[in-house]
């Protein structure tokens, strides 16, 4: 491969070093938050978005877990991208992702046992979250480590934002609380207010995400002819 020789070239031949937060890098970081959001635009990773958004706290922890995994899997794969044999690249990606997810799982079990019980199987399922493999294939395999890490962080954050937003709606209308603190006062219940039972069931997440996509597309003209 021709690219392998360039790494040994003298510093003087190298192009001018790109700033850490150049325009391009900031765009890499910011795009997944809205214009190219993994959940609402790429429509990836919906499974966990439906499952762990009943309450805000597990959703937040899940989001942090995914941010950790996307950032570091992108970084690691990008760092070793030139050494990965093409024929087993998916397996290599899986090993790296699985290792990171297992680390997250072990840390949750050690330090946040109650949350890890709630997230249960979904932490393990981060491995199969399409966002992660999608970003590795589409971005990290072809880009330098720093932009890759930014891309991973941005995508994790874009995923997390949607997750927490959906969870806020579902916990508030479904249980009348946020982070477990009761927000709807007792007198509201006394006057006939009832928690919305649908909100604690998975379909509610689908409706909220659907409405969000509708709202996002009516606001963001760039998305109208994307799909």
């Amino acid at each position: 491969m021709a690219t392998e020789t360039t790494t040994t070239a003298a510093p003087s031949v190298k192009p001018k070093k790109e700033a850490l937060f150049s325009k391009k890098n900031v765009k890499t970081l910011r795009d997944p938050l809205d214009d190219n959001n993994p959940i609402t635009v790429q429509v990836l990773g919906l499974c966990s978005a439906l499952a762990v958004t009943v309450q805000v706290k597990p959703a937040l922890i899940m989001a942090l877990g995914v941010i950790f995994v996307t950032t570091f899997s992108n970084l690691i794969i990008s760092m070793i991208r030139k050494t990965i044999p093409n024929r087993i690249r998916i397996i290599v990606q899986l090993i790296v992702v699985a290792m990171l997810v297992t680390i997250v799982d072990q840390f949750l079990k050690a330090y946040m046992f109650d949350v890890s019980k709630k997230l249960a199987v979904f932490v393990g399922l981060i491995i199969t979250n399409c966002i992660i493999m999608g970003r590795l294939e589409a971005f990290a395999l072809a880009q330098k480590p720093w932009p890759s890490a930014l891309d991973g962080f941005g995508n994790g954050l874009g995923y997390g934002l949607i997750l927490v937003m959906v969870a806020v709606f579902r916990e508030f209308f479904g249980s009348g609380s946020l982070f477990g603190y009761k927000l709807v006062p007792q007198w509201a219940y006394d006057h006939g207010y009832v928690n919305n039972g649908l909100m604690v069931l998975p379909p509610a997440a689908l409706f909220i995400i659907g409405i969000y996509i509708w709202w996002q597309r009516s606001r963001n003209k760039k998305l109208i002819n994307v799909s």
Partner: protein, 243 residues
Amino acid sequence: MHSNQYTLIYAAGLSILTAVILALTAEGLKPAQQANVALDTKSNILKALRMDFTEREKIEEMYDSSIEDVVVTMSGDVQEDEGADDVDLKNQINKKPEERLLPLYIHTAGSGEKHYVIPVRGTGLWGPIWGYIALEDDFNTVYGAYFDHKAETPGLGAEIAEEPFQRQFQGKKIMSEDGKFVSVNVVKSTAKSDVAPEHRVDAISGGTITSNGTDLMLENVLAPYVVYFEKLKDKKQIAASEN
């Protein structure tokens, strides 16, 4: 294209590297995880006794001050040298009832009233289910119940871990009026069955296999305790008549 040799060595090298990293993490975090599991067990036993604490210190304090654990054999004798935590329920439930060791947690309330907590374990749909059944000191009435599971379907079988399902058990009886063991049956309220209402709780819609698993688990695990409870009852009567 990389050669086969390179590919093989690369795959092997990467596997070994990740294995080492994971082994180190798992080993390093093990003490903290085990402490969590132990604390979780204590908190679950307290939940079966209708005490729900979240703070670590509270759980430890309450548990240590009011609960003692014993192991009983099938013939109703107490094993002196073992504690209930040493018994691995997973191995016990598959043995023949005659060979089992029966762990039991005895809770003494401030008023001197005693409750007997029996750990139960069985199989649900996707994996193991377990829990704790607290009996009042008539060895018949259920004081409280707590269930948990490894991987039951959320919203369906996983409902056994929710409070509404567990609350149904309070006040149910495990013995019939003529002193025979009948367990608490988990059956749909609409199902025709000749089991009296005080021996049945409503099963979960859409969670049939988990409900059946819970039903079997209770019957399988509770039954052997009856011998020991009879002994305790006799002792109590003797003590009462001596006074």
